[in-house]
């Protein structure tokens, strides 16, 4: 469904969706292809019409977002008031589903594992993470040390080569 054309005005409702609706509305009726095409275009126009009107209503209401109320008012003012009762059922369904989903996600958290156990697991994970961090830090510190030691050895080696005789510095143990 990639619309790579980029031209928003070429957007329509997909033909398949329209075909399905026609089939459900008029089962066993043959529909000519160009008739279907027209329905697709009409449906698109309808959406533009209602959304445009709803947008105007929205602007007048000084709200920034088109709300279901605005759409309903648009339907009314454009003569599609008969759709309103069915459309309101959808709204009800939205709210019910949203509510269920909120409940479900909180139910899921409580499912099976009691709170104390969850807490305990959490503490365990934190402790593990802290330990790993500490080990990592220590490793880095050791590596830095070794690198510093190497550098120092190299420096003293070249220094004693230049100086000639004194070997005492090489016995220094820097830890």
């Amino acid at each position: 469904m990639a619309s790579s054309s980029g031209n928003d005005d070429d957007l329509t409702i997909p033909r398949a969706a329209i075909n399905k609706m026609i089939k459900e509305t008029l089962p066993n009726v043959r529909v000519a292809n160009d008739a279907r095409e027209l329905v697709v275009n009409c449906c698109t126009e309808f959406i533009h019409l209602i959304s445009s009107e709803a947008n105007e209503i929205c602007n007048k209401s000084e709200k920034k977002t088109i709300s279901p109320e605005h759409v309903i008012q648009a339907l009314e003012s454009l003569g599609f008031g008969s759709y309103i009762s069915e459309v309101k059922e959808v709204l009800q369904e939205c709210k019910t589903v949203a509510l269920k989903r909120r409940k479900a996600s909180s139910r899921l958290e409580n499912l099976g594992i009691p709170e104390e156990e969850l807490l305990r697991q959490q503490q365990e994970l934190f402790a593990k993470a802290r330990q790993q961090q500490a080990e990592l830090a220590q490793q880095e510190w050791l590596q830095m040390q070794q690198a510093a030691q190497q550098a120092q050895l190299a420096a003293t080696a070249s220094a004693s080569n230049q100086a000639g005789s004194s070997q005492d510095e090489e016995d220094d143990d820097d830890i």
């Binding site: 928003d8 957007l11 000519a32 698109t44 309808f46 947008n55 069915e86 369904e93 996600s105």
Partner: protein
């Protein structure tokens, strides 16, 4: 109790934010409840159509849902009207002219006269 609280943000994605961008994932359309399917129309497409209007800034998700349902009702209505025309013409196949007639016959469909060739 951070673990549980963090997971509690399962709220439906409301489009009321300042970004106004089309959310990439599809809005969750309630279709699992029997007899209460929202719409046969793909909501992302409906939303894209609404946004194609340069005057439109933001549209809420629920507004899109009900607009999709209204569009579906529209298709049903116009299809049935057109079918009546076909039957009057004693035809069994719905032709384009049946739609033309249906459009001309109904005042509310006057906005469609621009789509006719």
């Amino acid at each position: 109790m951070a673990a549980a609280a963090a997971a509690g943000s399962g709220t439906p994605r409301e489009e009321e934010g300042p970004s106004g961008e089309t959310a990439a994932p599809q809005p969750q359309a309630p279709t699992s409840v029997p007899g209460a399917r929202l719409s046969r129309l793909p909501l992302a497409r409906v939303k894209a159509l609404v946004k194609a209007d340069p005057d439109v800034t933001l549209a809420g998700q629920e507004a899109i849902f009900i607009l999709a349902r209204a569009a579906e009702l529209f298709v049903e209505t116009i299809a049935k009207d057109a079918y009546c025309c076909a039957q009057q013409g004693k035809r069994k196949t719905l032709q384009r002219r049946d739609l033309d007639n249906a459009i001309e016959a109904v005042d509310e469909f006057a906005f469609l006269e621009g789509t006719l060739d």
